[in-house]
Subunit: 174 residues, 2 copies
Amino acid sequence: MDARVKPGHDDEIELRLSANARVPSMSTSTHDIEEGLALLPKFDANGLVTAVATDVASGDVLMVAHMNAEALAKTIETGEAWYFSRSRKKLWKKGESSGHVQRVRELRVDCDQDAVWIKVEQLGPGACHTGRRSCFYRAAPLGQTGSVALEFRNADKTFDPNAVYSASDKKPRG
Amino acid sequence: MDARVKPGHDDEIELRLSANARVPSMSTSTHDIEEGLALLPKFDANGLVTAVATDVASGDVLMVAHMNAEALAKTIETGEAWYFSRSRKKLWKKGESSGHVQRVRELRVDCDQDAVWIKVEQLGPGACHTGRRSCFYRAAPLGQTGSVALEFRNADKTFDPNAVYSASDKKPRG
């Protein structure tokens, strides 16, 4: 879905697909992408941008997933987080089976517009399909070489995923 | 580099490459990956995991980039952020040309170990190659359909990228 040619160091003419205006292609410079105010997402070969959801209250990263053009448009339109599941190859609304909807307080794009950061109000007890508030419940000790033993951090389960997700939704992440 | 087979909903036997122990392949279950304390990164077809760097003081997302096995190992070993540049196809240490090193205070992995979250102390005035503290200096208004006009947020430049980066390092992001 990405018709854009990877930019060089100069402002080369590029083709890219706009998720938003649904214009099949348009000429855009690196300057327009980085300094402009048009939403010009740089989708990868699979038509996806990376999406990082942080908890608007704590600042913690809740999850990292992906959005295709439709998920990004729906997130902007509805103010609730939609993603594209790479494993299930389908659009999904966060919380569609669990009820753990993410209300988006702010959506930002990065300099080259291949990543989206959403600050969310996480409804319900958590975002992670394993039953935790955040997907990032393990840390790697630093300053080590060789084999690394992770350590649990904020890893207590806040809900029972078997009670919340149906079998087909057991892996709702991207 | 990823020898892992995408898991189903059951604990299927999988093959994956450990960045850390450098074991060519090992059998690992979904339970081990999600609930275990072994670092078993799920590299994509290009040998990369997504890396999100947040400012340990403000909680803001500074940048989203990628790490290959070597970048991840070097980050863990040195406590400073290393990435793999997809555009330049090379390992790079954040700050190697700008001096804007990221001291890692904590490194976490997500449930399926295909994403890393590092909380960093950002040395120098900023992380973004455009001269801002964060790469996420534009927001999309919510509740809109059709064409979206971004708005600048915390977009003041904190340094002159032309003075900091050499021509070959002008696009140091992943």
